[in-house]
């Protein structure tokens, strides 16, 4: 078995025992990237020498007897929205082309300290706004299962890189589903931790009350190891939770769900859902029951209005956050010919530097926040947010976790929804409620849809700081399905 097929946990063990070096593991992945990147286009920035220098430094630290974590020497790809002090950071926007941040994000820094080696920065929808990664200003990333389809979004470079065995691990951010949806449509594991459980410091802000960094991996245990490595209170993020990190690794190893109470969200399913997605989802629910869980139906009627509430709240926050791109302190500046005012230069720069989806959301948010509309739109959306949180609370009095399909459909063809914003937004129908309520939610593979042979994801939602429950149930599903399939779902993916 080659190094690229191993799990992150296995690679960490081999490196710790000295059976293989961090440099050898990094080289194997860089070689795989060189081979498949022309087809996948998951990465925006790759620098072989910087990566190998990092790997050499980790090998030296290990040889010197330094105690690093279980992922020391394991390579990782970072979504290009986390700042890195040795590689450019662009958020896939022209407005930040070539920007080299003078500091590391907390997630980046903690993973460096734990000995992870950065393979590069992955593609995304510009400023994480989108569900297909087609909104990148630089390139279109392709789904390793079918190169004519989207890899999900906004963290589509990170999902594609892991599904294509270019990286064993990657980071993403989830504002409305941007980790779980790409994980579902590429047949891997993606987790949105509890809001505030992972630091936003050094994460380029889109919607600050929703943005949550989280892990991608090819299996549940690897995702847990990665989450544990970057989690924990961060004084640099004022919304970081000062509480112990849930024991996610222990939960991923435990995988026992006998006696757990599992709620099936009644409102997710039926019209608008692909039959093949519902078939795999229903089988997964039966599987949970056969593993000893008590399954009940739970009604959360306001979840249907989560999508419209989100598309008022997220654009409102975005219109405020993206005001920082003013052409003055960093990034692009257009039209500064000595005669134009700062304001004119700002407007020309922002028109040239932002793509269509970003412009749409800035204007939508500006509209929702303007006097006369504020109460009807932003104010009402904030009330709906409260109602949704209360429905989650009531549900979690009755059950330990809630389940639903992660997405209504499998990966759609590139271009299909590119100029139809409302159709694109539907991809996040099932994932958005957990962003509004801030609770933990994971997507794990649960099979292939009959119509198109593409991966389907099962979403498991747990209460705030109940991240361990997501991993426990996810691991149980993974264990049972892999024994049925005779290995991971990804072995069904076509060779690249």
């Amino acid at each position: 078995m080659s190094l690229i097929n191993k799990t992150a946990a296995q690679l960490g063990e081999l490196i710790a025992k000295g059976e293989v070096s961090a440099v050898e593991v990094a080289e194997a992945h860089l070689d795989r990237m060189a081979e498949v990147e022309p087809k996948i286009q998951a990465f925006l920035h790759v620098d072989r020498e910087i990566t190998l220098d990092q790997a050499r430094a980790v090998d030296a630290r290990l040889r010197a007897g330094e105690q690093l974590g279980p992922l020391a020497g394991v390579p990782i790809a970072h979504k290009d929205i986390f700042t890195t002090n040795d590689m450019p950071t662009t958020a896939a926007s022209k407005i930040l082309e070539g920007w080299r941040p003078p500091f590391d994000a907390t997630v980046t820094r903690r993973l460096r300290e734990a000995g992870l080696v950065i393979l590069g920065k992955t593609n995304l929808d510009e400023f994480a706004m989108g569900s297909s990664t087609e909104n990148s200003a630089y390139q279109v990333t392709r789904n390793p299962w079918d190169l004519s389809r989207i890899p999900g979004g906004s963290s589509g470079g990170s999902s594609a890189a892991v599904a294509a065995y270019e990286a064993p691990l990657s980071t993403g951010t989830d504002t409305g589903g941007s980790i779980r949806q790409p994980a579902a449509v590429t047949g891997i594991v993606g987790m949105k931790p509890t809001y505030g459980g992972s630091s936003r410091f050094g994460l380029i802000a889109f919607a600050s009350s929703l943005d949550t960094p989280g892990p991608f991996a090819r299996n549940v245990l690897d995702a847990a190891l990665l989450q544990e490595a970057f989690s924990g209170h961060d004084p640099l993020d004022s919304t970081s939770i000062d509480a112990p990190v849930p024991s996610v690794v222990e939960a991923a190893r435990n995988a026992d769900i006998a006696g757990m109470r599992i709620g099936v969200v009644k409102e997710f399913g039926g019209e608008g859902y692909q039959p093949g997605v519902l078939a795999r989802y229903n089988e997964a629910v039966q599987l949970l029951e056969s593993l000893g869980a008590k399954v009940v139906e739970i009604s959360c009627p306001s979840f249907a209005t989560a999508l419209p509430a989100y598309y008022l709240i997220a654009p409102s926050e975005c219109s405020s956050n993206l005001a920082r791109f003013d052409a003055m302190r960093y990034g692009l500046r257009v039209g500064d010919d000595g005669t134009r005012s700062a304001e004119e230069v700002m407007a020309l720069t922002r028109a040239a530097g932002f793509g269509p989806e970003v412009k749409r959301r800035i204007m939508l948010g500006t509209y929702a926040l303007s006097s006369g509309y504020y109460d009807a739109y932003y104010g009402q959306a904030q009330k709906v947010r409260t109602v949704i949180s209360r429905e989650f609370e009531a549900a979690f009095h009755q059950v330990d976790v809630l389940v639903s399909p992660t997405t209504p459909t499998t990966a759609f063809p590139i271009g299909e929804r590119a100029d139809d914003p409302m159709a694109m937004y539907l991809a996040d129908l099932c994932t958005i409620p957990s962003n509004l309520a801030g609770n933990a939610a994971i997507s794990v593979p649960c099979g292939l849809a009959d119509e198109d042979g593409l991966p389907v994801g099962l979403q498991i939602m747990a209460p705030v700081l109940g991240d361990d429950r997501c991993y426990r149930v996810g691991a149980a599903v993974e264990k049972a399905l892999e024994s049925r399939w005779g290995g991971p779902l990804l072995k069904e993916a076509p060779a690249l």
Partner: protein, 99 residues
């Protein structure tokens, strides 16, 4: 009736500091109209007596001790600037001609 007019979109673009041309204004007016019509569904939730949530979790102000600590050097802070002069950000004029 449309939820938003082209003139309103032009006003939003000005507020958003986005220099858009006529074709773009037409395009965004059509799309924003469809989006606003759809998001207006939030009104269907009966929530008169419900307090709004700006955040998912309860927030409290976070303070740190007012102490000098290491930060970016001037060179680092200016490293991404479009234009620099004498250790400062150089910006286009911000006042009118007569000022």
């Amino acid at each position: 009736m449309s939820a938003i007019t082209r003139d309103e979109v032009a006003h939003l673009a000005r507020l958003s500091r986005l220099a858009l041309n006529d074709d773009e204004l037409d395009h965004y007016a059509t799309q924003l109209d469809a989006i606003i019509e759809s998001v207006a569904k939030v009104a269907e939730v009966a929530a008169e007596d419900v307090p709004p949530s700006s955040h998912a979790l309860p927030l409290t102000n976070v303070f740190r001790a007012d102490e000098v600590r290491p930060s970016l050097t001037p060179e680092q802070a200016l490293s991404g600037a479009p234009a620099v002069e004498d250790d400062r950000f150089r910006v286009p004029r911000i006042l009118g001609e007569e000022a």
